[in-house]
Symmetry: C2
Subunit: 385 residues, 2 copies
């Protein structure tokens, strides 16, 4: 039996994780659930999974939930402290880190320091503090298993491969809903269009990032730390069919790829069961039913966010944090119809260009760079309008 705490249980990954866990009652047991503001769904999850502790973002929501659940059963916490408590529950062995954004950083770090294995679905954690985090992972000796379909694919392809045999990592990208749009048309797209992802069903923020290819850029940075591979040996290929989830090119020219249906429950299950593999109730991939699998290089003229992410990754230090924070602000503004789609890239570029390089030696610098970039990005929003 593996005891699990899920940070972000009411989000897309959290819900899929619980769906998986429910299929394996003799393998996994949920002890903790942390959510944001969705009290109703968390209440329902409490009744189904009977965790020993849960947490919400706000105190008022926590009190509301505690009242509904009654005393004596599940303990209800709140805020940043509640999140950290849920990340470090005594009996928990594996923490699913699926809080969106930089809010996931401190609880993930706390979980690692408490000796928990991590199933990582939050990409900002590695984007902003990958160097520090991976050092801590090695120090404490916990396992960090990626949940992202691309990184899970690479992680799977690398089983049994020696690090010095890796020639390149090849991340695939669906290309998003605007893959074939000319630049001029991109200026006019709406949030609703951006949320209609062609192959994956995901949360709002990541859907927009997927449309701008920033998602892939963040994944490049994430892969850089997760697999300790230099940025210029990480390549992105557009693969609209989303069947090959990513690949590894080895020293001898062989490419190992992981393929599967586009369902996050497969990489989630793998992260939960690793190093084992459990059979699952999903239909297997039938390659004879798929269109021809195609691969092309991304167009960074139309989707410059990917290029900016590469630049930030190469610059290192706090640059990826600034990139990520600027992007979060810009995407939120876009989703709120305050700015256009192309303005996201414009704002990111302004902030990353202005950012002063800082070597990353502690987590405080990450948080400061994040704050600085958010403030700067917000001031840019006005300029764009």
């Amino acid at each position: 039996m593996k005891y699990i705490s899920i940070l972000g249980s009411t989000g897309s990954i959290g819900v899929s994780t619980l769906d998986i866990i429910q299929h394996y009652p003799d393998r996994f047991k949920v002890l903790g659930l942390a959510a944001g503001t969705n009290v109703d769904l968390l209440e329902e999850q409490c009744r189904r999974f009977k965790p020993i502790a849960v947490s919400l973002k706000r105190e008022a929501d926590a009190q509301k939930l505690q009242a509904r659940l009654g005393q004596g059963g599940t303990e209800v916490y709140w805020g940043a402290e509640g999140l950290i408590r849920l990340a470090t529950l005594d009996q928990v062995q594996l923490v699913v880190s699926a809080v969106v954004g930089i809010a996931g950083l401190m609880p993930t770090l706390a979980a690692i320091e408490a000796g928990k294995d991590i199933a990582l679905a939050n990409k900002e954690v590695l984007v902003t503090a990958g160097e520090l985090l991976m050092r801590k992972v090695a120090e404490v000796g916990v396992k960090l298993i990626p949940v992202d379909s691309e990184h899970s694919a690479i992680f799977q392809c690398l089983q049994g491969v020696h690090k010095n045999e890796i020639a390149r990592l090849i991340l695939t990208a669906s290309g998003g809903p605007f893959a074939d749009f000319p630049s001029s048309q991109l200026a006019e797209v709406t949030p609703e269009q951006a949320l209609r992802h062609p192959t994956w069903k995901m949360g709002d923020k990541i859907s927009v990032d997927s449309a701008s290819l920033m998602n892939k850029g963040l994944e490049v940075i994430e892969a850089r730390w997760l697999f300790d591979v230099e940025v210029d040996r990480i390549e992105v290929l557009i693969h609209p069919q989303s069947i090959v989830h990513s690949m590894v090119e080895l020293a001898d020219g062989s490419i190992i790829a992981q393929l599967g249906i586009a369902d996050m429950r497969i990489p989630i299950l793998y992260a939960l069961s690793y190093p084992e593999r459990l059979s699952n109730p999903l239909p297997p991939l039938d390659l004879t039913k798929s269109a021809g699998l195609t691969f092309s290089r991304p167009d960074t003229d139309r989707f410059p966010c990917l290029e900016y992410a590469y630049q930030a990754a190469k610059a290192g230090g706090t640059h990826p944090t600034a990139l990520n924070a600027a992007n979060e602000v810009a995407v939120a503004a876009f989703l709120n119809s305050e700015i256009g789609f192309n303005d996201i890239a414009y704002i990111v570029k302004q902030i990353v260009d202005e950012h002063q390089y800082q070597k990353l030696s502690n987590i405080q610098q990450t948080l400061l760079a994040d704050k600085w970039a958010r403030k700067m990005a917000k001031s840019q929003l006005a300029a764009v309008n």
Copy 2:
């Protein structure tokens, strides 16, 4: 330094193996070369690689070569005994088994018994005596590494995978030069057409087998023994682009695939260097330059040899040996323009149907079944004409 003996050095695989070995003079050293009747090429190979011993099929050829090379250098042997001597040379660690057909069986077995690791390029060895051979491999504790691109692909995909996590093996097939021919047209194809394989450059026999899908059928039987997976969990998919060399579907629905350029030197190098991977001088695969990768189920109405191979595999015992022997006789007759292309399948079916099941308990049974099937197949040749 790895000391190597190559059985079948003047054939397609043998020549590619020597090409690879020449690139890594500090990793591999050839000690033995066994050829059939190509005295000139073997002489040239002797001058380039300076083996301590070589062997030819016929005594007269051996004497001719010895005269050309002079005494005191390379020793020249001949016949079945010479082949076994080359397979068991004292210092040799790895034997590349690349003699075509059942002639490779005894020397491969001798090499295993002498404690040599095997790079296996001869598929008949496993087709006819896989059960006995794999038992011997386990008993002696040698490594048997497949050279065939499909089996090498699966072998690579299975690194780091537990046996009980394998759901299915998926062998890919180019479909051969006649993939789109209607049955009626198949009756009329010439040996020259059959030798024009669309994606791989191979020897004559295997090119015809590739056109009839018998090659894939033999590979199914081979995979069954090599990976100890039941026949009904081995699937064949037609993949005309020959880029995905084969795949493994795992318990959780994940598929791991190996991709690469269509060059036998990659699986050969892997078999030589295993468990290491060496970088190689070949250009890497550029997926953006390939057409869409497609997969479809094979049409066993037009290409019944694949179905017969599955049936023989399921029947077990000496049935695969009879299938293989009948096919060798029929293919030779087809290459000699004695019978039509569709007659190959017809003859194979007659012989397999007539064959009496025998549990395989020793190698002698294999050789007897082989002899019986050849005789029967030859008598069928007349009937077909």
